[in-house]
Amino acid sequence: MSGGQVAALAALGAFHGLNPAMGWLFAVARGMQERDRGALLRALPPIAGGHLASVAIVAAVIAATRSAVAGGVVGVAGGVLLVGFGLWRLLSQRHFRWAGMRLSAAQLAGWSFLVSSAHGAGLMLLPVLASGPAAAPGGAGHAGHAVAAGAGGALTGLAAAGVHTVAMFVVAGGLALLVYEVVGTSILRRAWFNVDRLWAAVLVAAGVVTIVAAT
């Protein structure tokens, strides 16, 4: 990964961490429910873990495919997928549904995985992953080489997901503590900008960038 890629992945991680729907608000609620900052802090790792799993699967698939398949195909196909998903998120009135707040750490990770996946968190990394050099030259003649290249690509994808999630974890944790310790939840009704719309717009833009870069 280039320095630019790392920076872009971290920036997207920070953007995901900023979104209350991605988990930091849930951590605040758990802390307040138990009147215990420890409950807040204990909620953060499972939330980050679930996010990591969601993003890593997509990133690994993209990176591996990219290593094994001719360059432009991944960019164009992925970009089209991204634009479509972003438009759907933008136009659909539907939102993630969930009932139940008393979750074990494992359930909390599962919740985070689902909420991240439903929002297309991993897909948002596509332009970054599709931009740099592939892990190994694609289009090589025989199958064994392609498989090995695919495995190498997947590792790159996992590393990218890791960088992304560290940034997400830091921002989410910082915000959770800030709201819990200092500003209080009354800030929500004033400052909770509609991240979902912005999020959908970013997905569409990322798709367009990917397609343009690939063609």
Binding site: P20, A21, W98, S186
Partner: protein
């Protein structure tokens, strides 16, 4: 359409909600008992600075007749800020208005002109029956994953089981029955929840066959009406515990959980005890060992009366039962209001300690025997009594209406129940109630219809749930 910032009527915590601005409009369910004219949502001006304060300033007819509008609720409320599936940018915009008798559910849009709600959708009885297997929809709450509507009856019959139907948040389509496992629950009425604890509580009245013709003395004395509370796992949708209050405690109705999400108790009213016609208030709470227990904390005795002053249904008893049929808890969980419809009294209790309520205020209006007039109209003897009670979010104003349920009105006020709404000002320091002399829409103001639940613009004490303390 979604918003860029959260709906300003959503509050993260009950403490924030208590600082909400005063309501300027109230929506009131009005129904024609004879089913000759459409029922309606009446809009009442609650802005004391307005020239039409205390008057009906808007009116929206339902599309059919015979609905018996009763309870209703909002499409979205403060629970939209709850962290597991937040959707704070939806609007509190639609009133979900069931017809208790017709089983139709109406959706009214109040955004364009809040004084002229517009009908945007009607869910027909057969859609509710086909989609969820229920009829006679009653309580509406904006839930974490949809709109929850309790119902008294099964889909295509006058029998049970009643239960809860879930409507889609945005399309208002009937998504299905909520319950995954109802256990032996058969009777239904009200429900509410402790959202952060994954607990739903439901209460019992009777099936449509038991209630639609009026209170049936044989069923009452045979102790056949509901006398239990059910506690459910809100996430798994399973009935996990049932508590029997004792079969002398007939008709366990309104449920008012603490608004503070870190608390796990609530109040429920019992209409009458067949042993002495008293009414009672109970508290549910976690007992040692983790199960729920339900403890009686208030007894309200019947008042002796001359049988000549009583309707035929009560003459054998020589007493007026209080008939507690609605209760409401202020957003700060400090004051509990108890409607004694039979005796014509609204009682205010300080429930800072829920196990030791102290009566701190009372207002008399109407009543089966007393017929107490409103101070501003001292010559008009009032029928009905304080029944549906709604509290402003800041806890300073309380609104009451006087009709209970068409069939019951006729039994207890056979010479006519009339229609009135009163507003009561609250001394929030030490408690105490004063009728507002300027606010008393009544009689022809409601165009000959009876009035039941009031909902306040922007939310009220029984409309919103909160996930942050």
């Amino acid at each position: 359409m979604t918003r860029w910032t959260p709906d300003p009527s959503f509050y993260a915590s009950p403490r924030d909600a208590a600082a909400a601005p005063a309501e300027t409009l109230a929506y009131v369910a009005a129904f024609d008992r004879s089913a000759q004219r459409p029922d309606a949502i009446a809009v009442v001006d609650t802005d004391p600075g307005s020239a039409t304060y205390g008057r009906v300033v808007g009116w929206t007819d339902m599309p059919s007749v015979g609905d018996e509008l009763h309870h209703f609720g909002w499409n979205a409320c403060s629970s939209a800020l709850c962290p597991t599936a937040p959707h704070p940018h939806v609007e509190r915009r639609y009133l979900i208005v069931p017809g208790l008798r017709s089983s139709r559910i109406h959706v009214l849009d109040v955004k364009g002109d809040p004084r002229a709600p517009k009908l945007v959708k009607t869910i027909e009885a057969k859609e509710l029956a086909a989609g969820a297997g229920y009829s006679r929809p009653h309580t509406v709450h904006c839930g974490p994953d949809g709109i929850y509507v309790s119902a008294l009856g099964a889909g295509d019959s006058d029998d049970g089981p009643g239960g809860i139907a879930v409507l889609d948040h945005t399309t208002f389509e009937v998504r299905g029955a909520w319950e995954a496992d109802r256990g032996d629950q058969h009777l239904a009425y009200d429900f509410w929840w402790h959202l952060t604890r994954d607990v739903l509580v439901s209460s019992e009245w009777g099936t449509p066959a038991m209630v639609e013709g009026g209170l049936v003395p044989e069923l009452l004395l045979g102790r056949k009406y509901g006398h239990r509370l059910h506690f459910w796992d809100l996430a798994k949708r399973r009935n996990v515990q049932t508590v029997d209050l004792g079969d002398q405690y007939q008709m366990v109705l309104e449920l008012r959980p603490a608004h503070d999400p870190s608390k796990e108790y609530g109040f429920v009213g019992v209409v009458t005890s067949v042993e002495d016609l008293s009414a009672s208030i109970w508290v549910w709470h976690r007992a040692e060992g983790g199960d729920f227990a339900v403890t009686k904390v208030i007894d309200i005795p019947a008042e002796p009366a001359d049988p000549a002053d009583l309707p035929p249904a009560l003459q054998p008893f020589g007493a007026v039962p209080p008939l507690v049929t609605d209760i409401d808890l202020s957003v700060d969980d400090r004051f509990l209001y108890v409607s004694c419809w039979g005796t014509g009294e609204l009682k205010q209790f300080d429930v800072t300690d829920p196990f030791a309520p102290r009566e701190v205020g009372s207002v008399r209006l109407g009543g089966i025997v007393r017929r107490e007039p409103h101070p501003s109209f001292p010559d008009e003897r009032l029928a009905g009594g304080p029944q549906m009670v709604e509290i402003s979010r800041d806890g300073r104003r309380v609104y009451v209406t006087n009709s209970l349920y068409g069939a019951w009105d006729d039994q207890f006020f056979p010479d006519g129940v009339g229609a009135w709404q009163a507003k009561i000002d609250v001394d929030t320091d030490g408690g105490g109630l004063t009728l507002d002399p300027r606010f008393f829409p009544h009689g022809e103001e409601f165009r000959g219809l009876r009035v039941h639940q009031t909902r306040l613009q922007g939310g009220d004490a029984s409309s919103d749930s909160y996930c942050f303390p």
